[in-house]
Symmetry: C2
Subunit: 279 residues, 2 copies
């Protein structure tokens, strides 16, 4: 199924643009669960399984951040494989891998993430040039989300600085990606943070058709009303990520899964002013 169609269906059937980020850290996992596993890999696997179960009715997408699995080595990567299989087939699976390398190496990443892990999408880092994107452009069922304007404080170091006459390097990246649009059968999307709307507007104007992966609500504090306003003129679909504020919402309580469900429903509700533009 075409990526955009799958994403639209996922937003419709969940009634939500929420993406749940899977960043499992053994020490942060609720104590009741933590105490039942001696091995970290089994612990994070069970945690991710329960998080997906508790939030899937409120989320159109799941986004494992590969770093949190790599931290446990090959056993962690095996968990990532199992978690990928657990994501319901009517939800979008985004691998937050932030890879970026020359074509010969990028082909290997494509095999790892699109073929082996069967992700619908991957996040990519374009610093080494647009050739880092090329190997991912030949599959209409897939999407890439290219780092353009992130929501961290470090965005001011490079991405928010003037570049080639544009207001920001991020805007330039979006423009360059827009030029590739017609040559790509995969969907080309952007990662744009939610926290600093003045930086995001020009990036979206540079590539209005791009679907957006938007981190930075929740713990990072992006404002949903401002975001809704900006998105009104954008043609691509938004996928709005929340990781820690949802998955650790249950803290150490016995009924942590219920609390995670409730938190996901609350975030879904708070995003409804955005979601209603698309369903």
């Amino acid at each position: 199924m075409n990526f955009t169609v799958k994403l639209k269906n996922a937003i419709s059937s969940s009634g939500s643009v929420l993406c749940v980020g899977l960043d499992p850290v053994p020490e942060y996992i609720p104590k009741p669960l933590r105490e039942t596993f001696r091995e970290d890999d089994k612990l994070i696997l069970d945690f991710c399984r329960r998080i997906i179960e508790a939030t899937k009715s409120c989320a159109c997408a799941f986004k494992p951040n590969t770093a949190f699995f790599e931290a446990l080595g090959s056993k962690g990567w095996a968990v990532l494989e199992e978690v990928s299989d657990m994501v319901p087939s009517n939800r979008i699976l985004i691998m937050d891998a932030k890879r970026g390398d020359i074509g010969h190496t990028a082909m290997q990443y494509k095999q790892a993430f699109f073929e082996r892990l069967r992700a619908d999408a991957i996040t990519l880092n374009p610093l080494m040039g647009m050739e880092t994107i090329d190997p991912f452009m030949d599959d209409p069922e897939k999407a890439v989300f290219v780092l353009a304007m992130t929501s961290n404080r470090g965005a001011s170091d490079l991405l928010q600085r003037r570049f080639e006459g544009r207001l920001s390097l991020g805007e330039y990246i979006a423009e360059e990606l827009a030029k590739k649009k017609c040559k790509s059968s995969s969907h080309l999307g952007l990662v744009t943070g939610a926290t600093q709307t003045e930086w995001i507007r020009p990036v979206l104007n540079a590539f209005p058709e791009a679907h957006l992966l938007i981190p930075g609500i929740g713990k990072q504090g992006g404002n949903i009303e401002d975001l809704a306003e900006i998105l009104k003129n954008h043609k691509g679909l938004p996928i709005i990520n929340s990781s820690r504020s949802v998955i650790y919402a249950g803290e150490d309580s016995e009924d942590w899964m219920e609390k995670v469900s409730i938190k996901a429903a609350m975030v879904k509700e708070s995003l409804s002013i955005i979601t209603k533009q698309y369903v």
Copy 2:
């Protein structure tokens, strides 16, 4: 042992600044070996073992590119763990991972590459800001090599363009990294390609103390004389990588390991005008 001391010793004992890049692709592995393994993970493990054996007397460092292991999933990552253990303790192990993420995630990468895989060094991508480097700065036994001026054609898309009044974004990255030098107990180094000396010179001038990971000789065609000339004024040590042109030098012949050894010795010899500056 302090990273710089370990690197100096590795250059002295091998008599070489050569780093052998481990980019194992099952289809490119010599036929005689390929025919003895039915499973790709066992094949690439044995291939890497033999490559290390055949080249260790001519190389100061080994650089597995993680993409080529990830392409085989969790089994590939298990091979990466075994290969890491195979690198002799008097050689430098550089993980070519090109990771770059916010601090909270970067901590996970640090665990994956410095703690679990016990690498001496990692390659990092600074696009999301200098905070991507911070978590790696607290260990005198370790080094980071930050992408500054790569040797691929895509370098002209972003890294070779003017930035903040500098000749290139790469030069600016080197400058920003140099500012962090005093705050870091880990060694801060740069990735600078070998092919385009006019772009590299200002990058090295911006951070003369940085050790350098230099890809781009061999298949990518960098000129060794030009490189030697540039390095004369640089205080940091160079690690010069060759991957495909060494590891696949044996093609499909029965005595492929011998051919790989000979090729490594030839590359070592061709680099001797550089090596002699350091031993």
